[in-house]
Amino acid sequence: MNARLVHFVWSHRLGLLVIVAVAMVLIFPLVTNNPYTLELTNRIAIISLAVVGLNLFMGSTGQISLGHAAFLAMGAYGSGVLTVHAGLSPWVALLAAAVLAAFFALVVGVPLLRLSGHALAMATLACNVVVHHVLLQEDQWTGGPSGLAGIPPLSVGGILLDNPVQLHFFVWGVLLLVLFGALNLVRSLPGRGLALLAADEIGAACLGVPVLRVKVALLVLSAVLAAVAGSFFAHTYGYVSPDSFSIFVSTDLAIMVVLGGMGSVWGSVLGAAVIILLPEVSDAAETYKEFVHGGILVAILLFAPQGAMRAIRQGWQLAVWRWRRAHATA
């Protein structure tokens, strides 16, 4: 009986996980409707959107991008500039910003993806620096260093998304859809090809994975997701400023991927949550906060280099195995 239950749970683990996730998202605002908590969780959801995309790129190509904040910026500023200066509706602006980011990723991606390793990391970082600089300098459009305010919130079916609870359902709903898509992709046949691509480019190519096309496609996909996240960011806060999209934000995004585990879809959310919640924890340590912040980061990378999600999964598998063995002997 018990064994059958375990088998059922195991074989339907993904479906069950999705059901549990949806249920948790639905129930969460009933448990706490404190705007502070919701602001944090909403931010986790928004950033996770970008991290899932970046993780698909990094996890499948094994390459670092240190420039994804530039795509976030394109979404945020695209939304901001088009709504504030051109008076477009938020959804149109969001769409236009996503298209812009996709186009930029395509143009930059084709020559740059010939690079690999540190050169690619540096090149993406350089793109980020340039975009950041444009945001600072072109102040008649971007508001320069003091930022761009007065960005209207999104609305869905006539409901204005301007309070944390409505935003919660919206951003987590979108994130779950994206996660679902990403999980599908990872489990699909092309997804298996991507997993091999991460481990071995030539091997993957010889098995029929169109390497350059896939790399560019994933860069574009991750750029679009980052741009959408940036747009949500802009419409949520109603304000954007260049330093929200500096290279340090890019490194943070990459750290979220590595922390959660490259190629792990759920790990993306976990990594985003850890990095966003870390200051809330380490703030309590006041003078020692940088030690706590950096120390936790170092500890996770030292002791769970495969990523937090895989470490958890391995722990779980170990537990299941032990349980099975105990019941086999009994």
């Binding site: 930022g147 929200s244 200051p279």
Partner: protein, 385 residues
């Protein structure tokens, strides 16, 4: 009437349950303590703690102790927004002081507006207290440092007096520098000032000889530099290196003994607008600010803060920010809307950085008379002649 009622309620609560006696009035204070402006945010935090301690030693506000809830924005606007939400909804503070940077302040405006909590900011930029579509709601936002426009007016008045009207501008490309540039361009015609060169540099740049060389060719009568932090000192050193003799004027961001320390002999003769805090000894006896400033300086040095953070023109802003809140609180208590309008109608509060007269149109309340021109002479700041 209302005040007595409040006192009455407070008194009843105090006598009724000793546990309530411990209840405090919470003020949220968030500054950049580890980010790019930690060197401004950290002393601001120290001063905020100092003023709260002083107030509590004097009996608190209406018999209740003040409690400061401190947080670190890390120079990140998104982080600042999170902290502001936490202050309002979790810590349930009555009012907020901070943050340190203009873009942090901008990202907080909407939150304090919907959260109905007054905030007195210690940021340099003016957009935080501008209201409207382009700037976001400013109804609940105040700021204690002078507006950039005030400092520009003070400087331009001085330049006009001295007949130094052909000016070369060298501005940082951060928020502070751009704000200054915007105001200088807007106010120049009124003072008959023309610009013969306009150059920019990054706030973290380490060499401005290229920009200064171009300025040198424009042969201005005065060189105005608008920045905050060490870049100003580097400009001073580069100017000396290139053998330029054109008089150097800095912004109100630089009156700081650190500037003299960093620029060394190159700082000699630099003039800049500043609060009276730096030249308190030279103030006439009748100046109402003199005793306030002297008291502030005494407390600051008693605690030994001046060893790492020598008193500069920004030192008093956190003091004034908290005092603006406390003065209003003493009048009307802690009900948000009442507190907000009490801050908005503050009149003749004599603070460290000037005499504040706020109004619904002016959420800063400091005029040109709150600033003086100072000059570096023999390694210290004195009133400029």
């Amino acid at each position: 009437m209302r005040r007595t009622l409040w006192w009455l309620v407070a008194g009843m609560l105090l006598s009724a349950a000793p546990v309530f006696a411990k209840e405090t009035i919470k003020i949220g204070a968030f500054f950049d303590l580890s980010g790019r402006a930690a060197f401004i945010g950290t002393p601001t935090k120290l001063v905020a703690e100092m003023v709260v301690e002083a107030l509590n030693a004097a009996g608190g506000v209406g018999g209740k102790k003040l409690e400061l809830v401190i947080a670190d924005t890390e120079g990140d606007p998104a982080k600042a927004a999170t902290i502001a939400t936490r202050f309002i909804h979790k810590d349930q503070v009555v009012a907020i002081v901070g943050p340190t940077l203009t873009d942090e302040g901008m990202n907080v405006k909407k939150i304090v507006h919907t959260g109905r909590t007054p905030v007195v900011m210690t940021v340099g930029g003016d957009p935080v207290i501008l209201d409207g579509e382009k700037f976001g709601p400013a109804r609940w936002v105040f700021k204690s440092p002078q507006r950039s426009s005030t400092a520009v007016e003070r400087l331009f008045t001085y330049l006009k007096e001295k007949g130094l009207t052909e000016v070369a501008l060298l501005t940082a490309d951060d928020g502070f520098g751009k704000d200054g540039l915007r105001w200088m361009e807007a106010l120049a015609p009124r003072f008959g000032i023309t610009f013969v060169a306009k150059e920019a540099f990054g706030a973290r740049d380490t060499d401005m000889t290229a920009q200064l060389t171009r300025i040198k060719h424009a042969a201005p009568k005065a060189l105005v530099v608008w920045t905050i932090g060490p870049a100003g000192a580097i400009v001073a050193k580069n100017r000396q290196q290139l053998g330029m003799t054109v008089p150097l004027f800095q912004s109100h961001g630089l009156p700081d003994p650190k500037y003299i320390e960093l620029a060394g002999a190159a700082s000699e003769g630099t003039r800049m607008p500043a609060t009276k805090l730096l030249v308190v000894d030279e103030l006439p006896e009748g100046d109402p600010q003199k005793p306030v400033i002297q008291d502030f300086v005494r407390r600051y040095t008693e605690r030994g803060y001046h060893k790492q953070f020598p008193i500069n023109t920004h030192s008093g802003y956190a003091w004034d920010a908290i005092m603006l809140i406390v003065k209003a609180m003493e009048k009307v208590g802690t009900e948000p809307e009442a507190l907000r309008s009490a801050i908005e109608t503050t009149k003749d509060y004599v603070g460290v950085s000037g005499t504040y007269n706020l109004s619904p149109e002016d959420h800063n309340g400091l005029g040109v008379d709150s600033m003086v021109m100072v000059e570096v002479r023999d390694g210290r700041f004195v009133l400029a002649r």
